[in-house]
């Protein structure tokens, strides 16, 4: 095994651990809506939410990096360049995440000065990490990009997938630099901040997961490289074509020119079109193999990725993307519902799929089977779909009572929060978050014991 692949295993272990922290902080965050004085004076809701959202970003990033470190040596036939630096930075990354989490939990707030920005919190949603940690993320991502580009240079060859990946890593790093400037004009600040958030999630990350899924497809189903690469180019072009200017669908209530609303609505309304193509592609691939594979968990999670992406990003996004609806739905639990479903479908399912592929290799399993993965697959997906349904109902109430009828006043906000449908929606979300958490526990148990339980191994291949 290459050192890069050993590093990948560490990244997957860290990703699954941070996934657990995200799940627990999400569960606790959802309980604040039921018991308003929950952890009063200990941890405020906004800190718990910061932990939930930032761990989401970190575990997905770690999952992406683990996937690339796993596939890269096999793709280019050599050890990853600069692997020593990558190994050291893995521990720096983990330590920094732990320190930042401790600062959020125990320090929470600072004075309104530069020192707080550097040491406690940069204060911008999703990228709250203090400036020292944000600088660390830049260093880690630059080294990661060097690992990929340097390996290509050292190998004196590349592949279509790796070329797309290299091109993608440049905007991925440059966009993160938007996390740094403390712009005093709030409209200008939010205008640029959305570039970071939207163009990471709906552009560069989409390309990244497209590359990872292409590499995984070749390994899982033996799909020929030419086919995978041809489709990667088509799908990346379509997703970027609709995703980049879809940026405008975030520009509500922040003082940006109104033409952005039309541009954003138009381009994001086109987003379900390529996603439908991906669903048809998934059915074709699965049907061509007659759903026969040596790794059913990986195949099922990959199918969940295609369908989850279409439903979460496509269907849930289409509900709210036209400006007439978005005007009222923006920032309500309706968008939270869309966010949960889309992140899960587009990214989380894909990483879990790669994880099962990796487990098959490192445990020398000829066939990956068993019952536990089915339970975790069912509980995680049922919990997630249930949560998004409950959040959708709560979001309808907010858009209807608080926004459209009440006109977004403080009284209207309170009316929305006290509405029986909203309250019941929040209770249902918490209960279904428990189901999701149970699914996570089973997933971890399966990952830890796969291949070590008799029922999980139909046959064991000779060690290679």
């Amino acid at each position: 095994m290459y050192r890069s692949q050993t590093l990948a295993l560490k990244y997957f272990a860290a990703a699954i651990t941070v996934f657990g922290v995200m799940t627990i902080t999400g569960l606790l965050s959802s309980y604040y809506y039921i018991s308003l004085d929950f952890l009063f004076g200990v941890i405020p809701f906004n800190i718990m939410k910061i932990l939930h959202i930032n761990t989401l970003v970190i575990w997905l990033l770690m999952g992406f990096m683990g996937s690339i470190y796993w596939f890269l040596p096999g793709e280019l036939g050599r050890e990853t360049a600069g692997i020593r630096a990558a190994e050291i930075l893995f521990y720096v990354f983990c330590a920094a995440v732990a320190v930042v989490a401790m600062v959020f939990i125990f320090v929470q707030y600072g004075a309104s000065n530069e020192a707080s920005l550097w040491l406690i919190n940069q204060g911008r949603k999703y990228v709250e990490a203090p400036r020292w940690a944000a600088l660390g993320i830049v260093v880690i991502m630059v080294v990661f990009a060097w690992n990929v580009i340097g390996t290509v240079i050292a190998a004196r060859r590349t592949t279509g997938i790796i070329t797309v990946l290299m091109i993608d890593l440049i905007p991925l790093i440059l966009l993160y630099l938007i996390a740094f400037p403390a712009i005093r004009n709030m409209s200008a600040d939010l205008f640029w901040w959305w570039w970071l958030v939207h163009l990471w999630v709906e552009a560069t990350w989409e390309v990244l997961i497209g590359c990872i899924m292409a590499l995984a497809l070749m390994q899982l189903l033996g799909t020929p490289r030419r086919i995978v690469e041809a489709w990667l180019y088509i799908e990346v072009a379509l997703v970027l074509g609709t995703g980049i200017l879809g940026l405008g669908h975030h520009y509500f209530w922040i003082g940006t020119p109104s033409y952005w609303l039309t541009i954003g609505g138009f381009f994001s309304a086109l987003e379900p079109l390529p996603l439908l193509g991906m669903v048809v592609h998934a059915v074709y691939d699965a049907g061509a193999q007659h759903m026969k594979t040596t790794n059913r968990p990986a195949l099922y999670w990959m199918m969940a990725e295609a369908f989850g992406n279409f439903i979460g990003a496509g269907v849930w996004g289409f509900m709210i993307t036209l400006p007439q609806v978005n005007l009222y739905a923006h920032g309500t639990q309706w968008t939270v519902s869309h966010g949960h479903f889309a992140f899960w479908g587009a990214y989380a399912c894909g990483i879990i799929s790669v994880l099962y592929l990796v487990l098959q290799r490192i445990r020398n399993l000829a066939i990956v089977e068993g019952q536990l993965w089915k339970w975790s697959f069912a509980a995680l997906n049922l919990g997630l779909v249930g949560m998004t349904g409950a959040l959708l109902v709560a979001g309808f109430v907010q858009a209807f009572v608080e926004r459209a009828i009440g006109g977004s006043t403080l009284n209207a906000f309170i009316s929305g929060q006290e509405n029986a449908w909203f309250v019941d929606g929040m209770v249902a979300r918490f209960l279904l978050a428990l189901v999701f958490t149970a699914g996570y526990v089973v997933l971890v148990w399966d990952v830890l014991t796969l291949g070590r339980r008799a029922s999980a191994v139909a046959a064991v291949a000779p060690a290679q």
Binding site: I227, G265, L276, G314, L322, Q324, A329, A399
Partner: protein, 99 residues
């Protein structure tokens, strides 16, 4: 847009996109299974999708431009599964010939 049409329009738009997905999946399954029932189900799903599109156009307060987008998207949704399928077959056939 007033309060109730906001919810109704949002729900109709979601249903519109969902039925497009159902159409695509059933169409692809019909090609694989070569079963008439899947073909009929796919046609029914697209019929329902068209019905929802008509309701959106006639009943919701969306502007004319957005209604045109709905019509255009419906036509694109109709074409995407067969075009995707043909491209997939084409690339797979080329690969077999190349091998």
């Amino acid at each position: 847009m007033s309060a109730l049409p906001t919810l109704e329009t949002g729900l109709l738009l979601g249903l519109y996109a969902l039925l497009a997905g159902v159409w695509g999946v059933l169409w692809a399954l019909a090609r694989f299974r070569k079963a008439a029932s899947f073909g009929r189900s796919a046609a029914a799903a697209y019929g329902l999708h068209t019905l929802v599109a008509v309701v959106i156009i006639l009943w919701t307060p969306l502007g004319l431009g957005w209604k045109c987008l709905i019509v255009g998207s419906s036509l694109a949704f109709l074409a995407i599964p067969p075009i995707t399928w043909r491209l997939l077959q084409h690339t797979h056939d080329n690969e077999k010939v190349g091998a």
